[in-house]
């Protein structure tokens, strides 16, 4: 995932065809022909509507360009952003990039499928052996 410092984010960069979508819009109603980048917005990080928008864009509509998270973007939400279909994020000014990478390294896999790894864990790479040590009965 491309992490962008707040001061390095340009809304209308160098002739790129970029659109901004308000977080209450249905992406399925938009004309995405020729669009290279879509900026989705988190007015507050706890307003999760853009996660569904990203999922619909990436997975339902098969959008191939960049989906960029903007607004109140914090390192603790980066992994779920990536899983929902974002591939770039403009971090809020006070965020420390040094702490960001270890968030991506923590989990080897997740239970449910998402916009990137389509199949859920129970279908992909099923490890069905019961735990081997110190189990709760």
């Amino acid at each position: 995932m491309k992490l962008i410092a707040a001061n390095a984010h340009a809304t209308g960069a160098r002739g790129l065809n970029v659109i901004n979508i308000a977080n209450d819009a249905d992406p399925r109603t938009l004309n995405l022909d020729g669009v290279e980048r879509i900026d989705l917005n988190f007015p507050k990080f706890a307003d999760g509507r853009a996660f569904s928008q990203a999922f619909l864009l990436r997975r339902r509509l098969g959008f191939k360009g960049e989906i960029r998270a903007t607004g109140d973007v914090l390192i603790d939400q980066l992994v779920q952003m990536q899983r929902s279909g974002f591939d770039a994020a403009v971090l809020r000014e006070d965020q420390n990039l040094d702490f960001a990478q270890r968030q991506f390294d923590r989990y080897q896999a997740f239970y449910q499928g998402d916009a990137v790894t389509v199949k859920p864990h129970f279908i992909a790479d099923r490890v069905s052996t019961p735990a081997t040590e110190g189990a709760a009965a």
Partner: protein, 593 residues
């Protein structure tokens, strides 16, 4: 019980590591309190009136004795405030009249979880590690996300069960755990799943209620209810699907939650639950869910269709435990011995009647340990009592207990030839009061002694009523009554669904209580789910036990033969109860009506 795989175990440990990383950044000042709040909430950590509160997830209420012992250890070693915190709390609450705040205990909740009230935040990551060591966590026990999934306390053992809900609960638990799209919904989101004829999970009162059943062809599926909830605006859930094939449930719920995430209100916290959306949109909501579901199937390729392999894998964890010792004997002989013992001992007889329930396996019974007794708040268990419950589970119930919706513990695998022995052991531990489903088996939230949201204290009200109804003859004569107490409109004590509901209200810094009658959780006893009706203006705390007594005396006067409280209420209506309740009023608070 579900057996964790290596993957499950690693996942919970990773989550504990992640939480420690966040806590350390918060304590170091690089993660602000505001940014940390939603993260700690989704691990079960609230900051309450005086100290943090931890809510530990107990998925669909099932606990192993080894887990109970760790919960006991947490109560004993960590549910201990430092002297200053405790003194501040005790001094402040003493002004309201609370004599002594308990420490070193756990509290069972209506959503089958367990909470602690005093763990210092700087020890919170250590507690998460301890929980992870026995496959436990606090994931999504708070926050605006999919919460712990609740179910029938008799899942897998009920005689009226159509389909065992536990494998589906576990599959739902895994699907909803750290779902990337649904971690920041408009508001909290609660599932309850039932697979029996009797609804023991208050499914109509949940954001999503699921009923497992078989259709005419014998296929297993779900009836899907959406939009139930309590709070300021009590709403009974609407059925949006009569039958959904079992293997489509995740795809369908993805559609429900996605529509809610997109459409749910975020401008007003009190209108953000899905119940408001379902009410406002009506058929349009259902149509949108169905359209979204079709797109998930047709365009996304139905990725979360549950495979038979996965259902089989998970179901394998839920085979009934092998019973130890001789083959248990439910024959005439045992029944006769039980009956003879019961005839000689009215207390044992009452315990068999109230605390012992029939079982799918005729050799077994389900036994409820009562955590409703004088001197303890409803659903509170000390560290020693948690250990004792673990011992009883090992000795009598294949090492398993269930946390019940009514805030007790149920032993699901008790041999009927060991009932007398269990009764003696439970009695010695103070957990054999024969009040299950009776008046004093009340539901109560922690209220204003602990909770920052509460408008009034719940525990002293519960205590005053418990104190007044100590006579077991009287209690059994009154019969089965749901008394539910909440300390505020958030309704954690489910006052809306009580036959008698009590709601704490704050008026100019004073504690007042609104009493409602005739609510139903949707069980056979209680009838069609419905919120209770308020009897009139609020009462002062001291008046509440008198109001309850007046209401119960009215019932005794009006009832016919063995008619229950709720049946009498339905037949004669509100008026005589209202008159009786208001006759004990000493103060007028008409403006609060």
């Amino acid at each position: 019980m579900y057996q964790y795989t290596d993957f499950d175990r690693q996942f919970v440990r990773n989550r504990a590591d992640q939480y420690r990383d966040q806590l350390e950044r918060n304590l170091a000042g690089t993660l602000t309190d505001d940014d940390f709040r939603p993260l700690r909430l989704q691990n079960g950590w609230y900051i309450q009136r005086y100290a943090p509160m931890l809510r530990v997830a107990v998925p669909y209420g099932e606990l192993a004795s080894s887990q109970l012992r760790v919960l006991a250890k947490i109560a004993r070693d960590y549910d201990q405030p430092n002297a200053q915190v405790y003194q501040t709390a005790q001094t402040t609450q003493a002004k309201l009249g609370t004599a002594k705040l308990p420490t070193g205990y756990g509290h069972f909740t209506t959503r089958q979880n367990i909470q602690y009230n005093w763990i210092p935040l700087d020890k919170s990551a250590d507690v998460m590690d301890l929980l992870a060591s026995v496959d436990m966590h606090g994931i999504q026990t708070s926050g605006n996300c999919i919460r712990n999934i609740t179910s029938d306390e008799r899942a897998g053992i009920a005689v009226d069960e159509l389909v065992d809900p536990r494998p589906f609960c576990e599959i739902l638990r895994q699907w909803s755990t750290l779902h990337p799209e649904f971690a920041f919904l408009p508001r909290k989101f609660k599932f309850a799943v039932s697979g029996a004829l009797e609804d023991r999970a208050a499914t109509h009162w949940h954001d999503v209620g699921l009923h497992l059943l078989r259709n005419a062809a014998g296929d297993i599926g779900f009836k899907v209810l959406v939009g139930g909830g309590m709070g300021r605006t009590p709403v009974i859930a609407s059925t949006i699907r009569d039958f959904l094939p079992w293997n489509q449930i995740l795809n369908y719920l993805e559609a429900v939650v996605r529509v809610y995430n997109r459409w749910g209100r975020r401008d007003n916290m009190y209108k953000a639950r899905i119940k408001i959306l379902v009410k406002a949109e009506g058929q349009r909501f259902t149509d949108e869910v169905e359209a979204e579901y079709r797109q998930i199937i047709e365009l996304d390729g139905a990725p979360h269709t549950i495979t038979q392999d996965e259902l089989d894998r998970v179901s394998a964890s839920f085979v009934p435990p092998a019973l130890q010792g001789d083959k248990p004997d439910s024959t005439q002989k045992v029944v006769q011995i039980l009956r003879a013992t019961a005839e000689n001992d009215v207390e044992f007889s009452r315990w068999l009647k109230q605390n012992v329930a029939p079982h799918k396996n005729p050799d077994l019974r389900a036994v409820t340990l009562s955590f409703k007794r004088l001197g303890h708040a409803p659903g509170d268990a000390t560290a020693d009592q948690l250990d004792t419950a673990a011992d009883l589970a090992d000795q009598f119930s294949a090492g398993e207990v269930r946390v019940t919706h009514d805030q007790n513990l149920l032993l699901p695998w008790v041999r009927c030839d060991q009932l007398a022995e269990l009764w003696h052991a439970a009695r010695k531990a103070g957990l054999a009061r024969s009040n299950i489903r009776l008046l004093t088996d009340m539901i109560s939230c922690p209220g204003g002694d602990f909770c920052a949201l509460a408008n009034a204290r719940s525990i002293p009200i519960a205590e005053a009523i418990t104190e007044r109804y100590q006579d077991m003859d009287e209690l059994h004569d009154l019969g089965e009554i749901d008394l539910h107490i909440s300390g505020c409109m958030n309704s954690c004590g489910h006052h809306h669904s009580g036959h008698i509901g009590i709601l704490g209200i704050d008026k100019d810094g004073q504690e007042w209580y609104q009493v409602s009658l005739g609510g139903s959780d949707g069980s056979t006893l209680s009838g069609t789910p419905v919120p209770g009706k308020v009897v009139g203006p609020s009462f002062g705390a001291a008046e509440v036990p008198d109001v309850i007594e007046a209401v119960l005396d009215t019932y005794r006067r009006e009832r016919r033969h063995a008619e229950t409280f709720i049946a009498t209420f339905r037949r004669v209506g509100m008026d005589p109860f209202k008159v009786a309740a208001n006759s004990v009023r000493q103060t007028a608070m008409a403006e609060l009506a």
